[in-house]
Symmetry: C2
Subunit: 135 residues, 2 copies
């Protein structure tokens, strides 16, 4: 078997494990990623297409992920001033609080999952990941 295939199989396994273990404050790990990406963006708001690109999902998937977060008033819609097609998602006040709490908890949990990984190892892996383009 090729090493690269083994790598992708283990990556899939790790992703499943991570997704099941990093659930907190009523948020799936994917939910948390959405909050995190919005909070980290320059203007604290992101369009569906931007989230889709950042997460490697389809725009459709993002629409479906965002919907329940809006219902729970964790995210809110915002129109784009110059493009009537686009809709931004941004954190509500409650969303910001929730994100802060979840972020603290998740980072502790991650330290637990990956205790001995060196920063330069992480950077090497990230460079490989960044090289994988979405089509």
């Amino acid at each position: 078997m090729t090493k690269k295939l083994e790598l992708l199989i283990q990556l899939s396994k790790v992703n499943s494990i991570i997704s099941r273990r990093l659930i907190s404050h009523g948020l799936s790990f994917s939910d948390f990623i959405i909050l995190h990406l919005i909070n980290s963006s320059r203007e604290k708001k992101l369009k569906r297409v931007e989230l889709a690109e950042l997460m490697g999902l389809t725009a459709s998937g993002v629409t479906r992920m965002i919907l329940p977060l809006e219902k729970l008033h964790i995210l809110e819609k915002m129109d784009d001033a110059t493009d009537a097609r686009a809709k931004y998602a941004k954190l509500t006040k409650a969303g910001e609080e929730l994100y802060k709490d979840a972020n603290t908890w998740i980072n502790l949990k991650i330290e637990d999952l990956l205790p001995d990984v060196k920063k330069n190892e992480i950077n090497k892996i990230l460079n490989i990941f960044y090289s994988i383009k979405n089509e």
Copy 2:
């Protein structure tokens, strides 16, 4: 933001991209992984719990993944001689052919996705992945 969180977010993204791009011969990448793990096992058969452990899924998820593959006669059930609870999944003749073809195609595609990754880099990443235990 912590580097480790960034790593897990990118891992999730890469997993999504991989899952959408490595579809072949009517098999999802997860389907292919099942076939691959069975084919790579010593006795060319695996129980649901074994597959679940190897893939980082729940036994329930494995049951649901295997069902359509059995319907298509790609996999077949086998009873365990010494434990009436257990059911093995093994490749049918058609399943073996399908696996061979998909394996060739997928390895080419992977070479495309990860052209410049060195073997020793892969081994380092694998060691990190192997250290992440499923509870």
